[in-house]
């Protein structure tokens, strides 16, 4: 079964503080599409360092949404990009898509 994003880390982080929770989700929703956009642009232009940096930045949000396996994939992908290997691109795209879908359900 494919790993699904979840809010266990967010809940632990917010500790019942609804105001902070709202603020956090709002910021993640705002920031995530831009980070994905930066990744896609760098990937399409085959800019190795920029693509690796974009993956690196996305790792934090992957972990915030509880994707432990997804995080490991991102770590490996970032290392491989720095060596010019983009084999994990599709797998990484799937992670980003699942996050994007999940974030739309968060309020």
């Amino acid at each position: 079964m494919t790993e699904q994003p979840n809010r266990s880390y967010i809940d632990a982080l917010c500790r019942g503080d609804k105001v902070f929770e709202e603020k956090l989700i709002k910021v993640i929703k705002l920031e995530f599409p831009n980070e994905v956009k930066v990744y896609h642009e760098a990937f399409n232009e085959k800019k190795q360092t920029k693509t690796a940096e974009a993956v690196h930045k996305l790792k934090h949000k992957i972990s915030i949404l509880g994707l432990e396996n997804g995080y490991q994939t991102a770590v490996k992908y970032e290392d491989e990009i720095r060596e010019g290997n983009y084999d994990l691109h599709k797998e990484f795209e799937a992670i980003l898509n699942s996050m994007s879908t999940y974030l739309k359900t968060l309020e």
């Binding site: 503080d17 603020k23 956090l24 910021v27 920031e31 940096e53």
Partner: protein, 236 residues
């Protein structure tokens, strides 16, 4: 403790800010999305602790540490474990937190920073005491300004239009009044015991009736000033 956060990711800044809000005495005074703006800020302001991301565009966290003069304590907040060994070569780095940051690890790193901050503060205070400009008094003698270390003064005696300042090493005759020098001397150490005498309370050898023995000088204590003097003493 005044803190700043430097991280290009707003989510990370928000999480750190939230963790800090639970710690008494920790105050986030500014947040920066890049190291350059933070450097400009630090050129004009002093902070006690920096939460610093490593991977940032243009100028990364490690470059930042190497660039700033006298860096305060730094807690690195990063998704990259590869800088851990390099990080601890820097004296200012007191913590290395991997994102997503665990609250317990965050609190431990902050506690370490607080401890180091306090011990640094004590060291600085000790240094300040030995170099305290407030302890220095300049007196005009024959058109020369002579520097006198105030704690070394044990007695000041009025002599007409002059005062005699007696110190551990030397006596000075200065054209001034007891009232003027009384205003300059610190209250917690010096006391006017008579209309013609100010003494350094810490230099008293003994007190008998209405007289105080300081060094070899016997100084009269006026009846009205005696109760004030007695209050200043740590009597058994």
């Amino acid at each position: 403790m005044k803190c700043i956060i430097i991280d290009d990711e707003a989510t990370a800044r928000l999480i750190i800010e939230n963790y800090c809000s639970d710690i008494k005495g920790l105050q986030i005074i500014e947040q920066f999305s890049n190291a350059i703006d933070a450097m400009k800020y630090l050129n004009q302001h002093t902070v006690d602790l920096i939460f610093l991301d490593i991977h940032m565009p243009n100028f990364n966290g490690m470059d930042f540490i190497q660039t700033i003069k006298n860096p305060p304590n730094v807690i690195l907040t990063t998704s990259d474990p590869n800088f851990a060994i390099e990080a601890f070569e820097y004296e200012c780095i007191v913590g290395y937190l991997i994102k997503p940051i665990d609250l317990n690890k965050f609190n431990k790193a902050v506690q370490k920073a607080v401890t180091q901050f306090k011990s640094k503060k004590v060291e600085n205070q000790k240094a300040d005491v030995s170099l305290n400009e407030d302890d220095i008094l300049y007196v005009n003698i024959d058109r020369r300004l002579i520097k006198i270390d105030m704690p070394s003064i044990y007695l000041v005696e009025a002599k007409g239009d002059y005062i005699m300042i007696k110190t551990e090493t030397k006596n000075y005759i200065v054209h001034s009044t007891l009232k003027k020098i009384e205003e300059k001397l610190p209250d917690h150490t010096f006391l006017k015991v008579h209309r013609s005498y100010i003494i350094n309370v810490q230099k008293i050898i003994d007190i008998e009736d209405n007289c105080v023995l300081i060094k070899k000088d016997i100084v009269p204590v006026s009846r009205s000033n005696r109760p004030i003097l007695m209050k200043r003493l740590n009597l058994l």
